[in-house]
């Protein structure tokens, strides 16, 4: 049995949040530079150029990449041979969120309940944490600061098992285009296909944090990813809805088994700010 102090987890999560708030993922920067090179529309180019400038000003000026510093979302994979001492994983993460909110400082963007009171918790807690158990004695954390604009435009449908891949492509493309500029395109699409109602939403969220632009290992799904990307970029919403051929940077699908009566599809939208990282402890 290996021991890991909750303070170590707290420090690692704190460092991660402080880092991703100001420093753009180099892969996103690269993808946006590529988008800039192939963009046809002059306004879209102008905006892409500004986004790329923001990537260097943000760490230099210590101003967050985006003022919506997001909800902290954590996927934790906890080795069954690992024991956390002096507190729990959840406490450690929430302590880190609280501390980062104070020090960065981050915008206090979380309310205590969705309906009625909507009192701001003032410290960005609670984080949304998903835990899975793995073999071994490591703790892997995928940490993200997820903005509200893109999250709000996400969608889910329990489709008919008779639906074809064409039906799925149109459902997804129509949904993304209906969102227009609200999720701040260019976007990363996390798509879940399969599982059940809650499972498909989790697949979609997880898919966002796959390595940017990676193709699904199953060529049938990889082709579907490529089709969705090509169709969306051809249909002209463009950077911040101002037109052009760069509505999406990447499409990631994760698939899972499901009930004979089901074909769940979920699409989780992620904006170009895409603040995320991976930590191993």
């Amino acid at each position: 049995m290996h021991l890991l102090s909750s303070l170590k987890i707290q420090q690692a999560v704190y460092r991660a949040i402080s880092e991703i708030t100001f420093n753009c993922d180099p892969q996103v920067h690269q993808a946006l530079s590529k988008a800039m090179a192939n963009e046809h529309d002059e306004i879209a180019k102008d905006v892409l150029n500004t986004i790329l400038t923001n990537h260097s000003l943000s760490p230099a000026d210590k101003i967050p990449l985006c003022q919506d510093t997001g909800t902290t979302v954590v996927f934790a994979e906890l080795g069954t041979d690992l024991h956390i001492t002096d507190g729990s994983l959840y406490e450690a993460i929430n302590n880190a969120v609280r501390q980062a909110q104070q020090d960065c400082p981050l915008r206090a963007s979380i309310v205590n309940e969705a309906l009625f009171a909507r009192h701001n918790t003032l410290d960005n807690t609670p984080a949304i944490i998903h835990t899975e158990f793995t073999a071994g004695h490591a703790l892997r954390l995928v940490i993200a600061q997820k903005g509200g604009g893109a999250e709000n435009m996400s969608f889910l449908q329990m489709m008919s098992p008779a639906a074809s891949s064409d039906d799925i492509v149109s459902y997804i493309c129509d949904g993304v285009l209906a969102a227009g500029s609200r999720p701040c395109p260019p976007l990363i699409l996390g798509i879940g296909i399969g599982s059940n109602f809650e499972g498909v939403a989790l697949l979609a969220k997880k898919a966002i944090f796959e390595e940017l632009g990676r193709a699904n290992p199953d060529p049938r799904y990889a082709e579907l990813e490529a089709r969705i990307k090509a169709e969306l970029n051809a249909r002209g919403c463009g950077v911040q809805g101002l037109g052009g051929n760069n509505t999406v940077l990447a499409v990631h699908i994760l698939q899972a088994p499901c009930h004979i009566a089901s074909l769940p599809v979920a699409v989780n939208l992620e904006c170009h700010a895409h603040r995320h990282c991976e930590v191993w402890l």
Binding site: S58, R182, Q240
Partner: protein, 168 residues
């Protein structure tokens, strides 16, 4: 460049607004006020009971923005637009009270588009996810109303060459 870039200062005259066209780039200067959902609710309540707002809507702009807090020694934190369509239900009331310029992101409902056009007002689109760039365009920033709302309070901001694009 195939699009027009125009430097303007608030308040905008009716002629300046008429001269703007969809997708023109505007570098905006002058004083404006931020307001998100909660502030819109409160501003509309004040107008509905027949009272005066503490600033003249006709002379300024409303920016749909909830900034991130300023670090010690900084003028402001991260600046950027929030989704405008959430403000659609309140927009006619504010237009009626004289509002001419709104800044946010995303499409407006068809009825809001009509109301904005009918009032000879203008909707400008700011870009999301470029907070550090936009923060450099803020000359001053102070909490103006309802500090208890945090990011949703009304902030008074002075802008210098703030980039945005004509949306309506």
């Amino acid at each position: 460049m195939s699009f027009k870039t125009i430097k303007l200062s608030l308040p905008l005259s009716p002629e300046e607004i008429l001269d703007l066209h969809y997708k023109d780039k505007v570098l905006l200067s002058g004083t404006l006020y931020t307001a998100r959902d909660q502030a819109h609710k409160r501003l509309c309540k004040i107008l509905q009971v027949g009272e005066q707002l503490p600033f003249d809507l006709a002379q300024t702009a409303i920016f749909y923005c909830g900034p991130s807090p300023a670090a010690a020694g900084k003028i402001c934190g991260g600046i950027g637009p929030t989704t405008s369509s959430r403000m659609d239900p309140f927009t006619p009331t504010l237009l009626h009270a004289g509002l001419k310029v709104m800044i946010g992101k995303g499409d407006r409902a068809p009825a809001t588009v009509d109301a904005i056009r009918a009032a000879n007002a203008i909707y400008l689109i700011a870009i999301g996810g470029i907070s550090a760039v936009l923060s450099r365009c803020i000359v001053s920033c102070e909490t103006f109303l309802w500090p208890e709302l945090g990011a949703e309070a009304v902030y008074k901001m002075q802008l210098k060459d703030f980039p945005c694009y004509v949306g309506i």
